[in-house]
């Protein structure tokens, strides 16, 4: 009992933060639909769920996200292996580059995809423009990085010896993969899959741009119902449906993620040289890399197009406010705002994420304790699966009076971004922390180490690298976040994605080129930060 009390005390901080910044706004917005003219009317809300249109949209959301998740996992696994276990030349840079799609504003990626797939594009003959295939491809493009990074981090610190032992006993590489490696990676894979699914199911811009207007997901429908039609009842019904689906999914993934004995000895394996037998992995890696590179290269090419010729004109224009004063601040100023916001969002998300991960992975001594831990685990994943529209409007109507008058606070943007990044951090850290044998901590304690000391000597050396990877993730999420930010950002301090969106929506020959150039700058900035993260962790390896 005392353990549970202690656990809850430790969880109080993160729970409070999430309660104020997430539960309160979402409840506030959803209840707008449940109360009609001061009368509680849950029946009318539930009736919305009987509409055939809602069924169609819910079904489309489920299957498109499901397929996108499967494809992302299938494509991501070989690349995760190649970039984390093989001594590929330039793999650090490649790993950093793989995160670029993750931060590109959806509207820009949408335009890039459409220049490829559209009627006049090089892939126009496929006739995929505006089809569900294009939507799924867009989702995979954005999310394959999540799989590569989350699974790669786990794979990198996986002890290679059990696999080697199996091979020495005569197992074929496939058998080793199936019986040794994949089971050990299962928590990381399931974790990545659940995150990817939630990202896909709540995708907004990409569905609109690539699917045309024919296909709607729950997320786009909530937006449509709230802003275009102002049918708050129906929007509330869909929000509730979304939350229920997310909770079910999280419960399922927690069950699947659970392994009888997560304690595996973790060492960072030396990447080994590429062999001829690695050709399937290498082929898959090259294919995935080209799939990701193609739209990006289209963007880069477009950014250098000035009038009929080529040049740096679009980049030089980034210090201006664009043709016809499309912007209030130059793009360069927006980049600084973005970087500053991202730093704040990263430390917030990392601090919260670390606390949450420690809380949910400590070995439970009773069933009720384990239940509390897994409930908390699921609770912190929720922000990923709930509509940004509902959350954004919820902020406006619930955080509007003291003591919670956060509506105009400049910290609101990094806080919202930290919420989005939090589940990624938790999913990256928990498989690693969960894999630490608790007996190590007990041994440390019996040798006289304080809990802090035990954490420093047992947990930190193992969790150090995944933590850097996670913070890179959070940084990238913050740099590219558009949905919540567009809702909350102040006009005089817009972030880069907001500015790009604004440029692309303003007529003027230069503005479109500038938008592409700004996207390339955003992508480059992200890649640089990611390379920095990857580089900085190298010296630490020998230290532990």
């Amino acid at each position: 009992m005392r353990r549970i009390a202690g656990l809850l005390l430790l969880a109080l901080g993160p729970v409070l933060v999430l309660g104020v910044l997430f539960v309160l706004p979402v409840t506030g917005m959803v209840s707008q639909g449940f109360w009609v003219d001061d009368r509680f009317a849950p029946g009318e809300v539930l009736q919305v769920l009987a509409r055939p249109r809602v069924h169609r949209i819910a079904w489309f959301t489920l299957w498109s996200s499901g397929i996108a998740t499967l494809v992302a996992i299938t494509l991501g696994l070989p690349v995760a292996y190649a970039l984390h276990r093989l001594a590929l030349p330039g793999r650090t840079t490649l790993r950093a580059a793989m995160l670029v799609p993750f931060v590109l504003p959806t509207v820009v990626v949408g335009v890039a995809f459409r220049t490829l797939l559209g009627e006049g594009g090089p892939l126009g003959f496929l006739g995929l423009d505006g089809s569900p295939v294009a939507i799924v491809a867009g989702m995979v493009f954005f999310n394959v990085a999540v799989v590569i990074r989350a699974v790669g981090a786990a794979w990198e610190s996986l002890d290679p010896r059990p696999g080697e032992a199996a091979a020495a006993l005569g197992a074929s590489p496939i058998q080793v993969l199936r019986t040794v490696t994949l089971p050990a990676l299962r928590p990381a894979i399931i974790g990545a899959a659940s995150v990817v699914f939630l990202f896909c199911a709540t995708a907004f811009g990409i569905v609109l741009t690539l699917g045309g207007v024919r296909y709607g997901t729950i997320e786009t429908e909530i937006y449509f119902l709230t802003t275009t039609i102002f049918d708050l009842q129906a929007a509330a019904a869909l929000s509730v449906l979304q939350i229920v689906v997310v909770v079910l999914l999280l419960a399922l993934s927690a069950r699947l993620r659970h392994v009888p004995d997560p304690t595996a000895h973790r060492v960072v394996a030396r990447p080994r040289a590429v062999r001829l037998a690695d050709w399937p992995v290498m082929t898959a890696t090259v294919l995935v890399l080209s799939f990701v590179a193609l739209p990006i290269l289209t963007l880069v090419a477009g950014s250098f197009q000035v009038g009929e010729g080529w040049g740096w004109g679009n980049y030089r224009a980034l210090t201006t406010t664009g043709d016809n004063q499309a912007l209030l601040v130059p793009v360069t100023a927006a980049l600084l705002t973005s970087l500053r916001t991202a730093v704040d969002a990263t430390w917030m998300a990392l601090a919260l994420g670390l606390m949450v991960s420690v809380i949910v992975t400590r070995r439970s001594q009773s069933i009720s304790e384990r239940r509390v831990r897994s409930l908390l685990d699921g609770f912190f994943m929720l922000p990923l699966g709930v509509s940004a529209v509902t959350l954004g409007f919820g902020f406006l109507i619930t955080l509007d009076s003291p003591p919670l008058d956060l509506r105009d606070s400049p910290l609101l943007v990094p806080m919202a971004q930290a919420l989005v990044a939090l589940p990624l951090i938790v999913r990256t850290l928990t498989p690693v922390l969960g894999g630490i044998d608790d007996r190590q901590r007990q041994a440390a304690a019996s040798l006289g180490a304080s809990p802090w000391r035990a954490m420093l000597t047992v947990d930190l050396p193992v969790v150090w690298k995944p933590m850097l990877a996670a913070s890179g993730f959070a940084f990238a999420v913050s740099l590219g976040e558009f949905g919540a930010t567009s809702f909350l950002a102040r006009d005089d301090q817009p972030t880069l994605p907001i500015v790009i969106y604004r440029l692309i929506g303003h007529p003027g020959e230069m503005n479109f080129g500038m938008a592409l150039a700004a996207s390339v700058v955003l992508a480059t900035a992200t890649a640089c930060v990611m390379v920095a993260v990857e580089r900085l962790r190298v010296p630490s390896v020998g230290a532990f």
């Binding site: 741009t209 207007v213 275009t228 039609i229 970087l339 409007f393 105009d408 400049p410 993260v533």
Partner: protein, 365 residues
């Protein structure tokens, strides 16, 4: 080997420098350095001559006015203007309606005739009569005592005249022409459910065809019309004059768009003036505003000649006041429709949901 080592050292130090730079440039977002000159400015000089404090204007993401004008507003009235501009017109209308008891600003700008009835129905705006009266043709049928017209822009079908000349084909003129097989596969429009110009074009078809709009749209789709998400997709993605890879020379855009495709002393596009729907944008004082006097001064200022004359270049719309000056390119190339299509704002509010769900069904078929 040595060079590889050097490479690692170099990139590591570069990375370290980069990280340090980022970290240094940061700390709790509220940047107390260079570009917040504005903020300190606000604090030090907030003891103005005539009136006091800040006026907060809630608007949509397209709001933009030159800095010099905003400074002038401060000098003339003593109020600091703070603009909170985010989301599209629909988002703004919803935000205002949801926060009717505790408004997000003192004044709002950017509610157009297609969305006006929503905030009006929630009693978001306070009655207000501006010092100068804008022309009566822009006034709303209901709510004219609360919402003041500021600008107008017509959504019209645009054609790439250069393309039609090269193909030796006469461009279309009317909505009916768009279903003519001669123009099969040439037309692209943003969707009514996802885009505000898309909605305006849809309303033009409703005004023309009444309840028969469904069969007109079926005709459009049979003629291989492409429906995309937003205006930028249509114009920059598929329109021949807006995109290098575009294949379609007919697009839904604005009456002012031809002023942006000027090559030398001629424009390569034209707006079809018989296909237009006029969007009028309004401003109003928010009920329960902290600074109602400031809000009223702000709206009066928005009707002043200096702001009205800046509207075309800042927001791509026409001023409502006839005394405003219009830029040369606009005067020459942006021709305004004389008799645009109209649908009363109450009718839009009453039918929006049905129209849009039916429309989605038609185009998903």
């Amino acid at each position: 080997m040595k060079s590889a080592r050097k490479h690692v050292v170099l990139t590591t130090s570069l990375a370290a420098a980069l990280t340090a730079m980022t970290l240094a440039s940061c700390s709790l977002t509220s940047s107390p350095d260079k570009d917040s000159g504005k903020a300190t400015d606000r604090e030090t000089t907030s003891s103005p001559s005539q009136a006091g404090g800040t006026v907060v204007l809630a608007s949509h993401e397209s709001f933009s006015l030159p800095d010099t004008l905003i400074k002038q507003f401060k000098e003339d009235t003593g109020y600091d203007l703070e603009v909170r501009a985010a989301g599209d017109a629909g988002t703004l209308a919803t935000k205002l309606s949801l926060t009717a008891n505790n408004p997000i600003g003192d004044a709002a700008f950017g509610i157009d005739n297609t969305f006006a009835s929503r905030p009006l129905g929630e009693d978001v705006f306070a009655p207000f009569t501006p010092a100068t009266t804008p022309p009566a043709e822009y006034a709303l049928d209901e709510g004219a005592d609360r919402l003041v017209p500021i600008d107008a822009a017509s959504v019209c079908v645009n054609v790439d005249t250069a393309w039609f000349k090269a193909e030796k084909l006469d461009p279309p003129k009317t909505l009916a022409d768009l279903t003519d097989p001669a123009y099969k596969g040439l037309f692209v429009t943003p969707g009514a459910s996802t885009s505000s110009p898309g909605m305006a074009f849809f309303l033009a078809t409703v005004a023309e065809y009444g309840d028969d709009w469904e069969s007109y749209w079926t005709g459009l789709l049979d003629n291989d019309t492409l429906v995309v998400d937003g205006w930028e997709d249509a114009y920059y993605g598929d329109f021949t004059a807006g995109s290098k890879t575009g294949k379609r020379p007919i697009v839904v855009s604005y009456d002012s768009s031809p002023a942006f495709t000027v090559k030398g002393d001629a424009t390569t596009t034209a707006a079809l003036l018989d296909t237009c729907f006029r969007q009028v944008e309004y401003a109003g004082v928010l009920e329960g505003a902290k600074n109602p006097a400031g809000a009223e001064a702000l709206i009066d200022w928005m009707l002043s000649d200096s702001v009205q004359s800046a509207l075309p270049e800042s927001m791509y719309v026409f001023p409502v006041m006839e005394s405003a000056t219009i830029p040369k390119d606009w005067a020459k190339f942006a021709v305004r429709p004389t008799a645009p299509y109209e649908v009363p704002s109450e009718e839009i509010a009453a039918n929006r949901e049905k129209w849009l769900t039916d429309w989605t069904d038609v185009i998903s078929r």
